[in-house]
């Protein structure tokens, strides 16, 4: 059974069939192999984890309003920031864009009906969920106090918290990441529509490709590191224990060999989203499309060679530090190219300041500042002073939260009409985008100052002279929390009462806009044929990809 007789919560028209109305039972969702439905399954989980991690952040910021540890005990604080870090990194940021927007859009964008391995796709959602629940259980059953980095020998020999359970959860979730990566790579190689050559791929699809490469190649190293941690902690095998001749720093090498590329798992998808949004809302072909593609591939490749810049003060050889420092500067070049090209895309455009565009422009600003402060950390003598202080905390929040999360919101709003078939209130949306930008800077800019002044990270108490900056940061966090919660309201409203969206409300060129909103279960009635490059926005009276796939005339 399944067809809703009336216009359902999301249905476009009474009785119309789309992927949402194709089945309404719980079973039809939990056993679905439709990439669009799986995207929504992920979206539900990710939203949950985002707000859980956010609650922990709120608790931390409340604690840090005063220099004394008066709200939480030391252990509680340590467990709170570990919960925040573990959840935000592995169960929100890493999967966020690829598993939701990526799953939903990738087949649509390349004119395919499915991902290459639909069952693997569903399986990877279950893996991710299992990992998440395992970790959640560890965090609730008393918590973990190692920080999301699990540094040895603290994690293996000294911590008396639920390290193994949490690590097991992350380990399991890693396989979900690998499965998604394999699936996307195969999809892009095997299922592109006729005429969709590599150089005609939308940049979002390229971003998914680069991200998937990193996922598939880097994640196994994390799995190895966690296995070794497991072996030492559970069975006492001397791997990191210096008293038995082990090397405590080995873990850091393995960990960052994964986790540095992992920040590109978080930021490359964001770059893809922002490229789509800016091109459409400025109505121009992305400036230097080919350069944008190569820049992403360069970032993915060089990203594997810079892990040592997390360990400049760990006692590694000074020569190694010099090499890692140099490579870190090199990787900044493709990132800079991308910023310049987004800016260049605006030149001679027809710019519309819609909600997604405001988020995307906010992304460019925050990512640029985050990236520039990366140069500070890549400079050896400066890194010595700044590392493990709030400067680092600010830096990675600018990239990962200011960058990645802003882009996620940009994409969510941009494709919302396609995903749900509904429109949201532009006024409320713009308001949220602007408050997020200001709230974010208000929260995290003071942390750069704190770091330069010498405030170490992961401190539950601190000398009183740092207080003013902490209070500022916590005040900003209130604004930011509001900006994250607000969309929940108007997007929720839009689901129920939102105006119906046309098939292509932004008048965009991507193939995903050539089908109905929301799309039918099998995406396209006829396989589309691609005849030209993407983003033909400024060509006078551009012809969208032909033939139009949907079977009815549709422009409002």
């Amino acid at each position: 059974m399944g067809d809703a007789p009336e216009a359902g919560l999301l249905g476009r028209e009474p009785g119309e069939r789309n992927y949402l109305t194709a089945g309404t039972t719980v079973r039809s969702w939990l056993l679905t192999t439709d990439h669009k439905r799986i995207a929504l399954l992920y979206a539900a989980g990710i939203t949950f984890f985002f707000f859980l991690g956010g609650a922990a952040a709120t608790l931390m910021r409340a604690e840090l309003v005063t220099p004394a540890g008066d709200l939480l005990t030391a252990d509680e604080y340590n467990r709170t920031f570990t919960l925040h870090g573990v959840i935000m990194v592995w169960f929100f940021l890493v999967p966020s864009i690829p598993t939701t927007l990526g799953n939903f859009l990738l087949p649509l964008m390349i004119g395919a009906n499915e991902v290459a391995y639909p069952k693997l796709n569903l399986f990877s959602w279950y893996l991710w969920l299992a990992g998440g629940l395992l970790t959640l259980f560890a965090l609730l059953a008393g918590g973990v106090d190692t920080g999301w980095t699990f540094y040895t020998p603290f994690s293996t020999l000294y911590s008396n918290s639920h390290v193994l359970l949490a690590a097991a959860g992350v380990f399991v979730a890693g396989f979900s990441s690998i499965a998604t990566g394999i699936n996307f790579i195969a999809t892009l190689h095997l299922l592109r529509a006729r005429g969709m050559t590599w150089m005609r791929l939308p940049l979002f699809a390229w971003a998914m490709y680069a991200t998937s490469l990193v996922m598939v190649l880097a994640t196994p190293v994390l799995a190895m590191a966690l296995l070794l941690l497991f072996a030492e902690r559970a069975f006492g095998l001397p791997i990191f224990d210096p008293r038995a001749g082990g090397d405590p720093v080995l873990f850091q090498h393995l960990f960052w060999f994964y986790s540095h590329p992992a920040v590109y798992i978080m930021i490359l998808p964001a770059m893809g989203v922002v490229s789509e949004v800016i091109a459409c809302e400025a109505r121009r072909r992305v400036f230097g499309y080919e350069f944008m593609v190569y820049a992403m591939l360069m970032i993915a490749i060089i990203g594997f060679m810079v892990w040592g810049h997390h360990m400049f003060i760990s006692g590694q050889s000074p020569f190694a530090s010099l090499v890692f420092s140099a490579l870190s500067f090199v990787i900044a070049v493709p990132s800079a190219i991308k910023v310049f090209n987004w800016t260049g895309t605006l030149y001679r455009g027809q710019i519309r300041f819609s909600t997604p565009m405001l988020y995307a422009l906010g992304f460019v600003g925050l990512f640029t500042l985050g990236g520039l402060t990366g140069l500070f950390l890549a400079s050896l003598p400066l890194d010595v002073h700044l590392t493990d202080t709030y400067f680092v905390t600010a830096h990675f929040h600018y990239i990962m939260v200011g960058g990645s999360v802003s882009a996620f919101f940009a994409g969510l709003h941009f494709w919302w009409p396609k995903i749900t078939g509904r429109l949201y209130s532009e006024t409320l949306g713009r308001f949220a985008a602007v408050s997020m930008f200001f709230g974010f800077n208000f929260t995290f800019f003071p942390q750069f100052v704190l770091g330069y002044l010498g405030m170490p990270r992961r401190y539950h108490e601190y000398p009183p002279e740092f207080q003013a900056w902490h209070v500022m940061s916590s005040t900003g966090a209130v604004v930011l929390a509001f900006a994250y919660l607000w969309p929940l309201c108007y997007l929720g409203w839009s689901l129920v009462k939102g105006e119906r969206a046309s098939d292509n409300p932004h008048d965009a060129t991507g193939l995903e806009w050539q089908t109905r909103s929301p799309p039918p279960t099998d995406n396209f009635a006829e396989p589309p044929i691609v005849t030209g490059p993407p983003y033909r926005y400024h060509e006078e009276g551009y012809a969208p990809h032909a033939p139009a796939a949907a079977d009815e005339p549709q422009r409002p």
Binding site: A74, D75, N78, Y151, P153, F154, L157, Y158, S159, P242, R243, G245, P248, A282, R283, F287, G288, F291, I313, S314, G315, P318, S325, A326, F329, V330, A332, V333, A336, I337, T343, L346, Y347, R348, G349, I351, F353, L361, V364, G365, L372, T373, L375, S379, L380, P381, L382, V384, H385, T387, D388, T389, G454, P456, R457, R458, Y459, E461, P463, H538
Partner: protein, 303 residues
């Protein structure tokens, strides 16, 4: 931000240079976005039309090369300062640091000990020889722009030269468990006269090396390494700093790390020509004992 070491102003030089560069780039990008946003907003009368293919190619190559050039310059500038700091001055005063959850234990060359506080004279290079008794900690003095992870099972070194009298924060900044944020202390920089007065007022104790000499006998090291017993084990006189032949033709420099390993992990590098009979002092010699033994072996008093 206070600059209390010879290094601090130079690090700040790079900091402000990069801040200037960042502000310039932020302004450039920000202004371009604002100008384009205004000029090319939808419905404005600005001229549009395509950018010539040729021109856009040149712009791309231009800014790629320009950023690469700027970044290489910054790297070179920063790396130069770093390599200059490699060499620890030979005449540096040597302080031994043992970190543990959650305190700093510091020992002066004359045997004076402090916990969570370190007195040093201004204008004198100070070398820190550090190790940890448990997890990884990090020795951080913001006013000096000095930081170094302190690892268990290994000696790491750092140095600074204080340039201003005063009291400065000492933080642990590698997360190390429950009381991480309380593992803090103060560095008290004094004029040489004040330092001398402070130092002479301390319960002197024996110097580290002298205490080490006592341990050397008490722990039975002399049984094998003593003057008359060198058949079984190499003599340790004048060992420090020499290149020692080990096993398969390699040479290892006898630095602090080697001495330490030889005491705790004697099977790691066996001196050529000797049987691997030395027992490990793991669990027998405490971290403090090892520091003293190493100080003795370095002292030139070994016969």
């Amino acid at each position: 931000m206070i600059q209390a070491s010879t290094l601090a102003p130079r690090v700040d030089g790079i900091f402000w240079m990069l801040t200037g560069l960042s502000v310039a780039i932020m302004l450039l990008v920000g202004l371009l976005i604002l100008i384009f946003s205004f000029r090319y907003r939808r419905g404005s009368k600005a001229k549009r039309g395509p950018v010539p293919e040729k021109l856009s190619g040149e712009i791309e190559i231009g800014w790629t090369v320009a950023t690469l050039f700027v970044f290489v310059f910054v790297f070179w500038f920063a790396a130069a300062l770093d390599t200059e700091q490699f060499e620890i001055p030979k005449d540096a005063m040597e302080i031994h640091v043992v970190a543990k959850q959650w305190m700093w234990k510091l020992e002066h060359p004359n045997g004076a000990r402090e916990i969570n506080a370190l007195h040093v004279p201004v204008g004198v290079p100070v070398k820190l020889v550090m190790t940890s008794q448990d997890v990884i900690h990090s020795f951080f003095v913001p006013a000096f722009r000095t930081k170094q992870d302190v690892l268990p099972g290994r000696y790491v070194q750092a140095w600074f030269q204080a340039s201003k009298v005063g009291t400065y924060h000492l933080f642990c900044t590698e997360y190390c468990g429950t009381d991480h944020s309380r593992m803090i202390g103060g560095i008290i920089v004094q004029s040489p006269a004040d330092y001398a007065r402070w130092s002479s007022g301390q319960p002197q104790g024996d110097s580290l090396a002298d205490q080490g000499a006592g341990l050397f006998v008490a722990m039975g090291c002399t049984g094998c390494h003593g003057g008359s017993a060198v058949v079984r084990a190499p003599s340790l006189a004048g060992l420090y700093g020499r290149a020692v032949p080990v096993g398969d033709g390699r040479f290892v420099t006898a630095d602090e790390g080697y001495l330490r390993d030889s005491i705790l992990l004697p099977q790691k590098d066996i001196v050529a020509g000797y049987a691997p009979v030395m027992p490990s002092y793991q669990g027998v010699a405490s971290e403090d004992d090892v520091v003293k033994l190493v100080a003795y072996l370095k002292s030139g008093k070994v016969k």
